[in-house]
């Protein structure tokens, strides 16, 4: 099996799914780039190079460079989805949801329910998330809690190249609208990725480390930090289970609750501000369903309740770090009641 980057895995998935199904189209700002310029087409291949090469094989009718017009992109993708296409629309940075959210949460997400089950909206919105890119307050958020809040949407946060391919394939073949969150700092990470297409079902957490003393739930880039901490603490005979839920909607509640029942201790790592976060959501879930199993208060490692700062030292402080996760694990392990 070949090592591929997260970026390659997504690019390969788009090629494979567009070959497999002529109804799949890619649309967004500079998904190719170069239209109307004096230079070459496919000048960008996506702002971060993820959609490179698609236009060469599939042409401008299926790899659609749009104006900078997020509402029209999201709305057109939603409208096309209920009319027979399976669009993969790109929202360049998730932070831009503010200029197009109506088309996502009021329109695409609700068609099926509002129309009494008669609509299918097979729409994927690929978007980049996450801090650490020195891109400051309007290009660095994760915002997946906001999408997770909306009934009718599915929310996917792959943490590695293997999952990215399987989950994106599932997203494209899925008949519901899916928000597919790609952490910018994961694009160059590598994993073994099969050449063949495969799907990973939504709502199925991956247990990335087995352990019995404490469980860490972590998403996206944070899953890597959690693994790192688990590996370090294993050497000290602290046995850490790491759960990467992979999707926040649907959420694999059973695997999380089972982990709390097995370990009695839970640390949740969420790269987003704390209020109304996925961390709080999971904490609430555990308190409701596994209160009796808890041996220590649930620890939540999140960002502070601030916008994402620009100055590199501040941004580094903003992001949950392995050190903070480790400290949280030690704290719940040391708790004596």
């Amino acid at each position: 099996m070949a090592k591929k980057t997260f970026r390659q895995a997504i690019n390969e998935t788009l090629f494979q799914e567009m070959r497999r199904d002529p109804r799949v189209i890619v649309m967004g700002e500079d998904v190719a780039g170069g239209q109307g310029g004096s230079g070459q087409i496919d000048a960008y291949g996506g702002p971060l190079g993820v959609t490179k090469g698609l236009i060469g094989e599939f042409g401008a009718s299926r790899v659609i460079d749009t104006p900078i017009t997020e509402s029209a992109i999201m709305g057109a993708a939603a409208g096309a989805a209920v009319n027979g296409l399976r669009p993969v629309a790109e929202l360049m940075f998730v932070d831009f949801f503010g200029v197009c959210f109506d088309q996502i949460y009021n329109q695409a997400a609700k068609f099926r329910y509002m129309f009494g089950g008669k609509a299918k909206t097979p729409l994927v919105i690929r978007t980049t998330i996450g801090a650490g890119f020195r891109a400051a307050a309007q290009h660095s958020q994760t915002l997946y809690p906001i999408f997770t809040h909306v009934p009718g949407l599915k929310v996917v946060i792959p943490s590695n190249a293997y999952d990215a391919k399987g989950l994106l394939t599932q997203a494209i073949r899925d008949d519901d609208p899916v928000i597919f969150c790609e952490h910018k700092l994961l694009y160059d990470t590598t994993a073994d990725v099969p050449d063949d297409a495969y799907t990973i079902p939504f709502g199925e957490a991956e247990i990335t480390r087995d352990g019995d003393d404490v469980a860490i739930v972590a998403f996206g880039r944070m899953a890597h930090f959690a693994n790192e901490v688990a590996d370090k603490l294993t050497k000290e005979k602290i046995s850490v289970r790491v759960i990467d839920p992979r999707t926040t909607s649907p959420l694999d509640e059973d695997t999380i609750i089972e982990a709390v029942e097995d370990t009695g201790r839970l640390v949740i790592v969420d790269e987003s501000p704390p209020r109304c976060s996925i961390a709080r959501d999971i904490a609430g879930l555990v308190v409701e369903h596994a209160f009796g199993a808890l041996k220590a208060p649930i620890a939540q490692v999140t960002c502070p309740h601030t916008p994402v700062p620009f100055a590199p030292p501040l941004e580094d402080l903003y992001i949950p770090s392995p050190a903070k996760i480790e400290a949280a694990v030690r704290k719940v392990m040391a708790y004596k009641g």
Binding site: P67, D102, K154
Partner: protein, 323 residues
């Protein structure tokens, strides 16, 4: 396209059905039998029907909060619509959408829409699907003067021009966005010209003149179908009722609506034209009026008698499959 007698009778039937449907809802709403709130289309019938007479079931329309007329013009089942507006189980959306979300995808009706400016991007998407899949379908976005001020409408128009999509933007300018007049709220007084500034043909028609609407729509639909890209049509019209039922309409002078009903009634104008030119006989139109009255009576009776959805319906149809 010359309208045949059958077409004319069909057009009249659709317009009369809309008028009767809305007048009846006005009465029933006042009696308290209808949940929520409704926005009535009475007075604007020629706009929806004049356009939709140029469309097939395969073509798609996006609609507004004032969407009953678009639904009927596009061929949605009147009884199922009535059930939906009453929130009943047999409604077009199983009682889960209501007046503002009536949709019938099988009839190319992509949904009424509770968000002003909500549907133009969706109609662009429908047109994008038509163009990509080479189905020969066209899409029509019905929007109001209020939506004409929304950024979504501008974005939709620009993208339609950029991608040369088979979509027609119909702006039904009925004089008011909620309780504020167009003369105040629309900066450029000519909405068609504003649409045209995006790079597509834009015309203005008298929305109470079925024949003018039909002709302008025919041109736009033929252009779109032939690959000639988008168009915009501003249809100047009025609404007989308030923004919503129960709206005291204090923003309108006391004599405004009676005067409009007298002088700007698309049904009257239609009847006058087809009878004076001997295209149809008054008796034929009277027969349709009676049929329609019966249809609406039956629809209301059925809707009142029907069951509400059950508790089990609360959580269904959120996803195709939540996994």
């Amino acid at each position: 396209m010359q309208l045949s007698r059958e077409d004319l009778l069909d057009s009249y039937r659709r317009m009369r059905t809309i008028r009767a449907f809305e007048d009846r809802l006005h009465d029933e709403f006042a009696l308290g039998g209808i949940p929520g709130f409704v926005h009535l289309y009475a007075g604007q019938e020629a706009c929806a029907v004049g356009m939709c007479m140029n469309l097939t079931d395969e073509d798609m329309i996006g609609s507004t909060h004032r969407g009953h007329g678009h639904c009927i013009a596009k061929g949605c089942d009147v009884e199922a619509m009535m059930l939906e507006i009453y929130g009943k189980k047999g409604g077009l959306c199983g009682g889960k959408g209501g007046s503002m979300h009536i949709a019938d995808l099988a009839k190319g009706m992509l949904g009424a829409n509770g968000i002003v400016g909500g549907n133009p991007p969706l109609a662009v998407g429908a047109a994008l699907a038509a163009k990509t899949l080479k189905t020969g379908k066209v899409a029509v976005s019905f929007a109001g003067d209020g939506a004409s001020n929304q950024g979504t409408t501008f974005e939709a128009m620009n993208m339609a021009v950029v991608l040369q999509l088979p979509v027609i933007f119909v702006i039904e300018n009925n004089g008011y966005g909620e309780g504020t007049g167009v003369s105040y709220a629309v900066g450029a007084k000519d909405i068609a010209q504003r649409a045209a500034a995006f790079g597509m043909p834009g015309v203005t028609v008298d929305g109470s003149d079925f024949f003018a609407v039909h002709e302008a729509s025919r041109e736009a639909v033929e252009r779109a179908r032939a690959g000639g890209g988008p168009s915009a049509i501003e249809m100047r019209i009025t609404r007989y009722y308030g923004h919503f039922e129960g709206d005291p309409q204090l923003y309108r002078a006391a004599d405004e609506v009676p005067g409009l009903r007298e002088n700007l009634d698309c049904l009257k104008k239609f009847r006058q034209r087809v009878t004076e030119t001997k295209l149809l006989e008054a008796a034929q139109l009277d027969a349709i009026d009676r049929d329609v009255a019966t249809l609406i009576d039956r629809a209301v009776a059925k809707a009142k008698a029907a069951e509400f959805p059950g508790a089990a319906d609360l959580t269904t149809d959120v996803y195709v499959k939540y996994a």
